[in-house]
Amino acid sequence: MTIDVQQYLIRQEPYYQPQGREVQLYEAAYRNRLPVMVKGPTGCGKSRFIEYMAWKLDRPLITVACNEDMTASDLVGRYLLEADGTRWIDGPLTTAARIGAICYLDEVVEARQDTTVVIHPLTDHRRTLPLDKKGELIVAHPDFQLVISYNPGYQSLMKDLKQSTKQRFAAFDFDYPDAELETAILAREAGIAAELAGRLVKVGLAARNLKGHGLDEGISTRLLVYAAKLINDGVDAGDACRMALVRPITDDADIRDTLDNAIDAIFA
């Protein structure tokens, strides 16, 4: 059974604007095959960064979006029944360990804790993955690396990583880029003028100031890009901002009203 490694390679260079020295630091982590954890609010560029690093290191990237119904077999693999017996099929984690890919578990806290423990043997000096059901012990490919991401903003008692899991990773703290950088990112990503991008960033800042005062999360860079794309398509700036920036993040009438007012004040 051969796995088509080609399909997991990133062919195009993804656009990523470094905020600091994270690219060099990640390369160092990869040289030593350290598992990496990326923390930060939603839509601030975590996944884009990993994609970019996979391209830069020329490694295949296997991404798994975690959810609470995910079981260990969804990661490791399972037997399928066939008419004349059963057949084993590898899960994404197993595949990555076999071919030496970067395995990226996105929003890992969404998975239940009994699921996340299966990654433990892969993340310490052993670098192995036991397949209990199959009775096989996979030794990870030398290029294999595990990356997880999560959003610490949720602050939920139920959704947090165990210390024993956290302690296995080197970690990056991400946040929304500062105004100047974010303006540049928007202009580049959506192909709009820097002046317009600057105004959109200002709307984002107004919302981020309200975090903790009725907003759980501010407006993410991702949403700002959406708004920029809509404007680029000829949508009226006010409408685009309301649709892409305000309505998705809140149902609170007062906050909606305040942000709408900010949009009117910025796009006069």
Binding site: T71, A72, S73, R78, L80, L81, A83, K202, A206, A207, N209, L210, H213, G214, D254, I255, D257, T258, L259, N261, A262, D264, A265, I266, F267, A268
Partner: protein
């Protein structure tokens, strides 16, 4: 010329004769009034005017009503039309026939001001109806159709109407009057207080009926605005604009917070909330960019110029930050007309500065004055390179004052039209005086620092009460004082629990049945604690049939916690001290037993529980006593408080329920339950109408429903059915046999929360 004046003289004499009155005072004013009347009234209108004057002069009320009418009517007719005269005269005759004759003069005196405010015949008719209605409802009668006592509130009311109508629509005025009549019809003194705007609730209802945007309603939005757009936050404190006719207060900020007017009307196409936002933006700009200056050596004129310039600098920077503010500021900023002020006779400094201010903000100002345009250019040059600073703007402002100074700036007559910029604060933060000056003007007195004294309890909280007759809330009607219940001997409660040991054992069994309920089966699991046979067989059939079987053949369990917050509210009124029929125990003791058992049971279940008792002695004194807080466990301190229960006074249920909801509403829980244990209907010594408090409690239940709080009543009043149904709908239980209360109460709770 002479012939003309002689003709005029004789014509005036002829008109004067038609008034048919011998009051000498009329002669002095008649000519002026007549001139005005001839100018604004049709000939028929003039005839009617004189005829009406004649009949008013003959009412036997002295000269005052006639003078008031002669002076008021031409202006009134100009505003609402001369065809309204018959309606006005009808009302005058009505007042004349009632004992309220002395109210005719105040009615006529305020008529012109009211007409100026209302501007339409319909609105004036509405107002006349209100006056008539008020008069008829407050004039006392003894024998039914003989109205013999004059209305105590009417003269006061008529004197207040211009002030009232300046803030209320006629409909709002009608509601305000209605409230006063309903609540004070039987209290002449209080009625006078109400209608002369002396009493607190007159003002409170007035506030409620005002149109416009109230600060309290938009406070959170403004708070978010300040935080989100300006990264600034401070306390927003309203000041009253309702009772300060002469000196209109101006927004300002100090170390205590930002002061804003309590209400803003929509004006000039700008909504009230946006006017607030303009004020906040301006203030936020000052806080960000202004620095105080030492002003001892500057004249008031110089200071005024610096303020204008600095305000414009701030607003220019604000507009740079948020371009949309330009439209808002310009909509609110007056646009003084060039040349509107005559520098020969009047001080034009304010006018000049207001024009300049407009020009600095508005590129298309259209002013041609050379100095003005010169300084606009200088101003923009100064700001072109950056933010400049307060000190930088000061030199520009002082130069401007020197350049444009005129002798007439010193005159006492000041041109004020179009020079007031409402959204700007009073700039008190700009000035530092090394020596104490006497030109500091503040409109709020410095609050005296209250002497620090030991706080005996929490300050009272005010709650509204529902008045079912007028279908309105009486604002801040009830005062609730809360405190911890005093403690007694916990052993008493222990003994009571001992007494019910058997019952407790039985309850324990029921509770244990309730508890493991929090296991919920989850099916369709690939890995689980046990095989789910149904699904497994189905999969096997699929498999045999050659289809892809579903591997999710197991099931597991998860625990679903109960998430109920409970408040138990005990009615501790006097009636609890009665003995239960056929027993030595009082209702109070039985309640203690029942509450102890319930608290013990709920503690076992692990639901958060608060217990409080209440009683009242008039609306000014509702006591709310905490016996157990959500955070406390069922331990000796709580038992000791419960042991000390005392009963007394009456039952003002609505206020206590609102206060309990205030705490329960703040809990994070899926279900919120308010249990009320009571032995009678809501009543209090200051309420004559039995229905009033019943209806108020019913309204409180509705309010709690809206907040997501489930209210349930346990009544031990065997005659309870009628009023309890009114208040609680179907959510109540009447326990006929009070002896069984201790076992019933926990059972009830469990049944409710299954």
């Amino acid at each position: 010329m002479d012939r003309d004046s002689a003709q005029l003289q004789s014509a005036t004499q002829a008109y004067r004769a038609r008034l048919d009155t011998r009051f000498p005072q009329v002669n002095e004013v008649f000519e002026g009034c007549l001139q005005e009347a001839l100018a604004v009234l049709s000939p028929a209108g003039v005839d009617a005017y004189l005829e009406a004057g004649r009949s008013i002069g003959k009412l036997g009320r002295g000269v005052e009503p006639l003078l008031a009418f002669l002076e008021a009517w031409p202006a009134t007719a100009q505003n609402v039309g001369e065809e309204t005269l018959p309606a006005v005269m009808t009302l005058v005759r009505h007042i004349q026939k009632s004992p309220n004759g002395q109210a005719i003069a105040p009615f006529l005196q305020t008529l012109a001001a009211i007409a100026r405010r209302l501007q339409s015949a319909e609105a004036l008719q509405h107002y006349l109806d209100i006056v008539l209605d008020l008069m008829e409802r407050t004039t006392g009668s003894i024998h039914g159709h003989h109205t013999t006592y004059s209305s105590p509130g009417l003269p006061n009311f008529l004197a207040q109407t211009p002030a009232l109508l300046a803030q209320l629509s006629p409909a709002g005025l009608a509601r305000w009057v209605d409230y006063g009549v309903l609540n004070y019809a039987t209290h002449p003194d209080r009625q006078q207080d109400y209608f002369s705007l002396q009493s607190a609730d007159a003002r409170a209802v007035l506030q409620r009926e005002r149109d416009g945007t109230l600060l309290v309603d938009v406070e959170r939005r403004l708070d978010l605005y300040l935080r989100g757009l300006w990264h600034d936050n401070d306390l927003l404190i309203p000041y009253s604009t309702a009772f300060d006719e002469l000196r209109k207060p101006v927004p300002y900020y100090d170390h205590l917070g930002i002061r804003l007017p309590d209400v803003q009307h929509d004006a000039g196409g700008i909504r009230g909330i946006d006017r607030y936002r303009a004020m906040l933006a301006h203030i936020a700009g000052h806080r960000r960019w202004s620095s105080p200056q030492i002003a001892d050596n500057w004249s008031p004129f110089q200071r005024m110029a610096v303020e204008f310039f600095e305000d414009c600098r701030i607003e220019t920077l604000l507009i740079r930050e948020y371009p949309g503010l330009r439209r808002l500021f310009l909509a609110l900023h007056p646009h003084p007309v060039e040349g509107a002020c005559d520098p020969e006779t009047t001080s034009c400094l304010r006018h000049r500065l207001a024009m300049l201010s407009r020009a600095l903000l508005d590129p298309d100002h259209g002013y041609r004055d050379a100095d003005l345009n010169d300084y606009v250019a200088r101003f923009h040059a100064l700001l072109a390179t950056g933010e400049s600073s307060t000190a930088g703007i000061v030199s520009l402002a002082l130069a401007y004052v020197t350049k444009t100074r005129r002798q007439s700036d010193q005159y006492a007559r000041v041109h004020f039209d179009d020079t007031v910029i409402e959204y700007r604060d009073d700039n008190r933060h700009l000035w530092r005086f090394i020596e104490e000056g006497d030109e500091e003007e503040t409109f709020s007195e410095e609050r005296k620092q209250a002497e620090v004294e030991e706080i005996r309890g929490l300050p009272p909280r005010h709650y509204p009460e529902w008045d079912y007759v007028s279908r309105t809330y009486r604002p801040d009607w009830v005062c609730v004082y809360e405190a911890l219940h005093p403690s007694g001997d916990a052993a008493v409660i222990e003994r009571l629990l001992q007494k019910h040991a058997l019952l407790a054992r039985h309850l324990k069994r029921v509770l244990d049945l309730l508890k493991p309920q929090d296991k919920v089966r989850i099916r369709y699991q690939e890995e689980g604690s046990e095989l789910d046979l149904d699904i497994a067989i189905r999969s096997l059939i699929d498999f045999r049939a050659g289809a892809v079987p579903d591997p999710r053949i197991n099931m597991s369990h998860r625990t679903a916690g109960r998430d109920i917050a409970v408040t138990l509210l005990l009615d501790l009124s006097e009636s609890l001290n009665e003995k239960v029929a056929g027993s030595e125990q009082t209702i109070l003791e039985l309640s203690q037993e029942a509450v102890s058992l319930l608290a013990w049971a709920i503690e076992r279940l692990g639901d958060p529980l608060a217990i409080a008792g209440f009683h009242s002695n008039t609306r000014h004194d509702v006591r709310y006593q905490h016996i157990k807080g959500f955070g406390e466990h069922w331990d000796d301190t709580v038992k000791a408080r419960l042991a000390a229960l005392r009963a007394g006074y009456s039952t003002r249920m609505g206020a206590a329920m609102r206060h309990a909801a205030h705490y329960l509403g703040a809990r994070q829980a899926d279900k919120k339950l308010l249990l009320i244990l009571t032995d009678g209907e809501p009543a209090d010594v200051d309420v004559q109408d039995n229905r009033l408090l019943i209806e108020d409690a019913r309204q409180a239940v509705k309010e709690l429903d809206r907040e997501g709080i489930f209210t349930y009543c346990i009544s031990i009043d065997t005659r309870a059915n009628d009023y309890v149904t009114d208040i609680f709908g179907h959510r109540y239980t009447v326990i006929d046999n009070i002896q069984r209360l201790p076992e019933k109460l926990p059972e009830l709770f469990m049944a409710l929360t299954k």
